[in-house]
């Protein structure tokens, strides 16, 4: 069954779209990630124009993150104050990202930028996660690994403008959270992702936040940044496709439920190896497209403006 997407102006198989939404939902349920980094490239493969894919993914992430945030709010694992500080940076970054996005769109290089961002970030995150989880798997099950001691005085803790974050039990400068938020905001606008896969490690290793509040706080700020990104894309580029978003959300909601069930039956390390392999697979496919001589040297774009 075909469905005609009013903004993308393409007709796509409804079940293929539900499948993409569902697949990403399964992953987000299994691994606790938003899945934006997968949904955007999958939409490229499905023939959705990149600009529409990026903007609509942002809208879909609002839905999946909101659902996740509600669960974290009930468990009181959200540092709202930290989230708000990250958000200030996020908004600035998102605005800047949209500006860069539109500028490169006019130059015809937006496709390259989006793909390069994907290859670089997926490559780094995938490789780090793969190495870390393979090491964890090699350790005999039962014997606990060396637990990381939370450092209370990294270099960022010497910066001015200190503020107390009670939920995170931190007393640090507001500049590093703003910078982290800023860079994630730029990525959200350019890549159409929530940026959780960058944000979570940054919060743990750079800001020294306790792991239990990291995911909830990251979701909190991702909702606002992606909502803001969606709003900007919708008002400046008119590239948010509600029909596409709706189908992806429905698929994602069902998939997330299945994913959670699978996740409960597997070991955390096995899950991480799988996720890392998947990230590297997507990264490799995108990298090959950039490195190998394409079959078709000419590409048709739409005229700017």
């Amino acid at each position: 069954m075909q469905v005609y997407l009013p903004i993308a102006e393409v007709s796509v198989n409804l079940f293929a779209l539900l499948g993409i939404g569902g697949l990403v939902g399964v992953l987000s349920g299994m691994f606790g990630v938003g899945g934006g980094f997968l949904i955007t490239p999958l939409l490229f493969f499905a023939g959705i124009p990149p600009a529409v894919a990026v903007a609509t993914s942002a809208n879909q992430i609002v839905a999946s993150s909101f659902s996740g945030l509600l669960a974290h709010l009930r468990r009181k694992t959200v540092d709202i104050r930290m989230g708000l500080i990250l958000l200030i940076g996020g908004m600035i970054g998102s605005g800047g990202g949209i500006f860069v996005f539109n500028m490169l769109k006019a130059l015809g290089q937006v496709d390259l930028l989006v793909r390069l961002c994907y290859v670089v970030f997926l490559g780094i995150v995938g490789a780090l996660m793969f190495v870390e989880s393979v090491r964890a798997l090699r350790r005999k099950p039962g014997t606990p690994g060396k637990s990381r001691k939370r450092k209370h005085s990294t270099w960022v803790h010497t910066w001015p403008l200190k503020m107390r974050f009670r939920t995170s039990q931190l007393y640090i400068s507001v500049i590093p959270p703003i910078l982290v938020g800023l860079s994630v905001g730029v990525l959200a606008a350019i890549m159409g992702v929530g940026g959780g896969f960058i944000m979570v490690p940054a919060m743990i290793y750079l800001l020294g936040m306790p792991t239990k509040v990291v995911v909830g706080t990251s979701l909190f700020q991702i909702i606002f940044v992606t909502a803001f990104t969606t709003f900007l894309h919708a008002t400046t580029n008119h590239t948010v496709d509600l029909m596409l978003a709706l189908v992806l959300i429905v698929g994602g909601v069902i998939g997330a439920q299945i994913g959670t069930q699978i996740g409960l039956r597997m070991r955390a390390e096995q899950l991480r190896v799988l996720l890392a392999s998947l990230v590297l697979l997507v990264c490799g496919k995108l990298a090959l497209d950039l490195l190998l001589r394409p079959d078709e040297l000419y590409v048709i774009g739409t005229a700017a403006g």
Binding site: Q60, L116, T230, A234, V240, L297
Partner: protein, 256 residues
């Protein structure tokens, strides 16, 4: 002075009689299976039957008549990028802007196009695919290559089609053909032209328009996204938040 005017008038009358005798004698009467295509949510392409007859006052002439049917979607400016290797990766190196290219184009004929249509008539009426794409050439060394690539890519995608020998003709009078509109249609007026040719010369032609419009939900969303984009943006966010909340609440109920 009066004599000069009289001569001019006589010449004009003689010319109009001699230059287009066929035009007055043969006319196209056209019918379409539908003159309006509505793109709804489950739109999956559409096939249009274009049929008609040649109306004449006199006897059928000796030399056989040919028919050319063209359907053209709304024209848009298009940019074509050429990829090249820069620092080991393939990037869009050169860009050429093509002023106007139809979003859809089909030519159907009763015989091989180069036999039923002369080059001069093609220049005059812009019938072939190559003539339908217009460009003044810009900033690149070889604008022709970009133009040819555009036509080739769109031909491969089935957006531009040349259907030779696909117009059926009966008794030199009745003709019909089918034009398939793909699912990925752009909105607008689809200019439909029928040419009657004899020995490569156009003897009569007829133009009409097939309206392609988004309808229902598609129409509503598209209009809102472009005209009331702030409301549209808020609506998409409300939808996302509601879906997120719904999912969370629904699964809590399921788990008990």
């Amino acid at each position: 002075m009066m004599r000069l005017v009289a001569i001019c008038l006589a010449l004009l009358a003689a010319c109009s009689a001699a230059c287009s005798p066929a035009r007055a004698q043969e006319e196209v009467v056209l019918g379409l299976s539908q003159n309006r295509v509505q793109i709804t949510a489950n739109f999956d392409g559409s096939e249009i039957l274009i049929f008609g007859a040649v109306k004449r006052e006199s006897k059928i002439p000796e030399i056989p008549l040919d028919v050319i049917v063209t359907v053209a979607g709304p024209s848009r400016p298009v940019v074509v990028h050429r990829k090249d290797r820069v620092l080991g990766i393939w990037v869009n190196a050169e860009t050429s802007e093509i002023d106007s290219a139809p979003t859809f184009y089909t030519v159907a004929t009763t015989g091989p196009l180069n036999e039923v249509l002369s080059h001069t008539e093609d220049l005059r009426h812009s019938i072939t695919i190559r003539r339908a794409v217009r460009s003044v050439g810009s900033g690149v060394a070889d604008p022709g290559a970009f133009m040819r690539s555009l036509v080739r890519i769109r031909e491969e995608a089935g957006i531009y089609r040349l259907q030779e020998n696909e117009v059926e003709m009966d008794q030199q009078t009745l003709f019909r053909t089918r034009v398939a509109l793909p699912a990925n249609l752009t909105e607008g007026g689809y200019e439909t032209r029928v040419f009657l040719t004899r020995q490569g010369k156009v003897v009569a032609h007829f133009d009409t328009v097939i309206e392609v419009r988004k309808a229902g939900l598609e129409r509503w969303l598209y209009t809102m996204a472009n005209e009331k984009s702030a409301i549209y943006a808020v609506l998409s966010l409300i939808l996302a938040v509601a879906a997120g909340w719904g999912a969370s609440a629904g699964f809590r109920l399921l788990r008990g």
